[in-house]
């Protein structure tokens, strides 16, 4: 089970902020989310959205293990 976190406008779009989702890889997780909510799935793949796994930004696909934390980070606004 990965712990999935959404930030900023993604959270409002999805209607949730944090969920536990079973997925062996980031690609599998994206697939699960796009099947469930096409709008959210598109937004997660949108321009400027970064993904952090265990608080480190990753590119492309990576494997997930039990207890991985996956955060979708929309463009940052600064403080």
């Amino acid at each position: 089970m990965a712990r999935v976190l959404l930030f900023g406008p993604l959270r409002d779009l999805a209607g949730w902020r944090e969920r536990e989702i079973e997925a062996a890889s980031l690609a599998a997780l994206r697939g699960f989310l796009v099947d469930e909510d096409a709008d959210l799935g598109a937004a997660l793949a949108g321009p400027g959205v970064q993904v952090a796994v265990d608080q480190a930004v990753v590119r492309g696909d990576v494997g997930l293990s039990a207890g991985s934390e996956v955060a979708f980070l929309p463009p940052m606004s600064g403080g």
């Binding site: 980070l73 606004s77 600064g78 403080g79």
Partner: protein, 146 residues
């Protein structure tokens, strides 16, 4: 010191602590950003961070500032959550041997914090809520350092 704060804070208390016991530091610059009321247009600002990640990302820029400007020390405190008009949002302090370095480092850190730091910002105004992005000016300010 790099820290997120859920509650209102007093920038003066942070400056007192930051200046205390310095014998070789000639210069301390600070910046305090305050939530503007905009004459009623914005009632509440809401700032979201990713705890742990946000401090770590700010820490990377802080390390750049230490090296680039030869800082003796720095402190950054950033509010998160709901912030009312007149409440401080951010406090940055920089300590250096001389004032040019202290000023420039403080300016540099603020330009980063305002345009690129991992925060997401929403305004709760009389006409509803909206997420806000850095302004063109914020990006232009940030470009000065590259």
């Amino acid at each position: 010191m790099i820290r997120l704060a859920e509650q209102p804070f007093d920038p003066g208390a942070l400056l007192s602590e930051f200046t205390r016991g310095r014998a070789e530091t000639g210069a301390v610059a600070t910046f305090t950003g305050i939530a503007r009321a905009e004459r009623g247009a914005t009632t509440v600002l809401e700032l979201e961070a990713y705890p742990g990640f946000t401090e770590a990302e700010i820490g990377k820029i802080a390390d750049q500032a230490r090296e680039r400007f030869g800082l003796h020390d720095l402190a950054i405190l950033h509010r998160v959550g709901k912030i009312g008009p007149g409440e401080p949002i951010v406090f940055v302090a920089t300590a250096a041997g001389h004032r040019r370095a202290a000023f420039e480092a403080c300016d540099f850190l603020m330009d980063y914090l305002k345009s690129k730091a991992p925060f997401w910002k929403k305004e709760h105004g009389p006409d509803g809520d909206r997420w806000i992005e850095p302004t063109a000016q914020d990006h232009a300010d940030r470009e000065r350092w590259s």
